[in-house]
Amino acid sequence: RETFVGHQVLEIIPRNEEQIQNLEQLEAQDHLEIDFWRSPTVPEQTVHVRIPFSSLQDVKIFLESQGIAYSVMIKDLQVLLDEENEEMLMNQRQ
């Protein structure tokens, strides 16, 4: 089973078309293995992106260098997955 330890989900709010283009460039970089849960569309519309632990530093540096504001929406995805799994197991037992 694939684990998501250390994966973070960032919430990003692009301010203008240029920042949206920057995010689209980021999306095209396959080696980062990032997963857009909510893709960039229009300025001021929130973007959600899951980033593997191994790519976190690169992505955050990129965002900061482009002046793109972001916050951490999910700090460690695996924690939520474990909770979900536990709940499913409990329901199955019931």
Partner: protein, 307 residues
């Protein structure tokens, strides 16, 4: 009296979902039947629930879970199935609907992906087909329909989460639905359930032009969203795929609309609380309840506006 004890407020395995579908068919034998419209790439059944009071009536198509990781959609579909069955004969609106039309409901459109998301990779969204010449698996089944196939908003990289596949309908899961809809010949509405972002969309996604039925679909979608919001205040955005998300080719409701099914809609269910695809199970029933109000608004309109 039914006593399956099935918990609609929990996430379930594919086997449990299929068992409950059998239970529903057994509990309401004069209304509900199960039919298999095909098999997935890994040979799992594509099981549809048919709600019918008899005769060959025009029908409404509902599907859920084409993107496997969107678990609240499969759960919502099952709750909806139970709601339709248990409300027939009690709720005048549903009774009248089913006396006029049939409903086909596919709760798990991407069974291989669903099993994979429960056993190997919780974030899996695609099918599990093998791509010749690539180490990567799977196609985004909502980029694989014959509607602007391979155009903007779909990837030609087999490793991408939005890979459109080698050709339109290459995915047996998509092909099975297309064949079923064509062979039925009298589907009047095509509604697909996704989750994330709280949207109610209509065509087009593969192009950004205004469709012929824009005014009617826009008014109807807004009414449906209002009905949905009335329960718990969940806010929905309404509009064509292209303008409220982004241009995306090869999507199911674009195909269904171009095929002649005027009432083609896609729901993106709630993700309130910033949980993403990990919506806590205690939000399944509220999500299903509010979605039901939107679905009912659309289905009533379809019933009252034959074409």
């Amino acid at each position: 009296e039914r006593s399956s004890g099935f918990n609609f407020g929990a996430y379930h395995s594919l086997d449990e979902i299929f068992q409950e579908m059998d239970q529903l068919a057994a509990a309401y034998p004069t209304l509900v039947s199960k039919l298999q419209i095909g098999s997935s790439f890994e040979n799992r059944p594509m099981n549809v629930l048919k709600f019918s009071t008899g005769g060959n009536k025009p029908a409404i198509w509902l599907d859920a879970g084409i993107h496997s990781r969107e678990w609240v959609t499969q759960a919502t579909a099952l709750w909806t199935a139970n709601k339709i069955a248990s409300d027939y004969g009690k709720d005048p609106s549903i009774t009248s609907l089913l006396d006029t039309m049939d409903i086909f409901l596919l709760p798990v459109t991407n069974p291989d992906g669903y099993v994979f998301s429960q056993t190997k990779n919780r974030m899996w969204r695609k099918t599990r087909s093998k791509i010749p010449g690539s180490l990567c698996f799977g196609v985004d089944p909502n980029r694989n329909w014959d509607a602007g196939f391979g155009g903007p908003g779909a990837s030609n990289n087999p490793c991408s989460d939005s890979y459109h596949g080698p050709s339109a309908n290459s995915e047996v899961e998509v092909q099975s639905i297309v064949e079923f809809i064509k062979s039925h010949g009298n589907i009047k509405a095509f509604i697909t359930l996704h989750s994330y972002s709280q949207l109610l969309m209509y065509p087009y996604g593969y192009k950004c032009t205004k469709l012929d039925d824009f005014d009617e679909l826009n008014i109807l979608a807004n009414s449906a969203a209002q009905a949905l919001t009335s329960l718990y205040g969940t806010n929905y955005k309404v509009g064509p795929i292209c303008s409220i998300i982004y241009q995306a080719s090869g999507g199911s409701i674009d195909w269904s609309y171009d095929y002649g099914i005027k009432y083609s809609f896609a729901f993106e269910l709630r993700d309130t609380g910033l949980h993403g695809f990990l919506l806590p199970a205690n939000q399944i029933i509220p999500t299903a309840e509010e979605t039901w109000l939107g679905l009912k608004t659309i289905m009533e309109h379809v019933r009252d506006h034959p074409y």
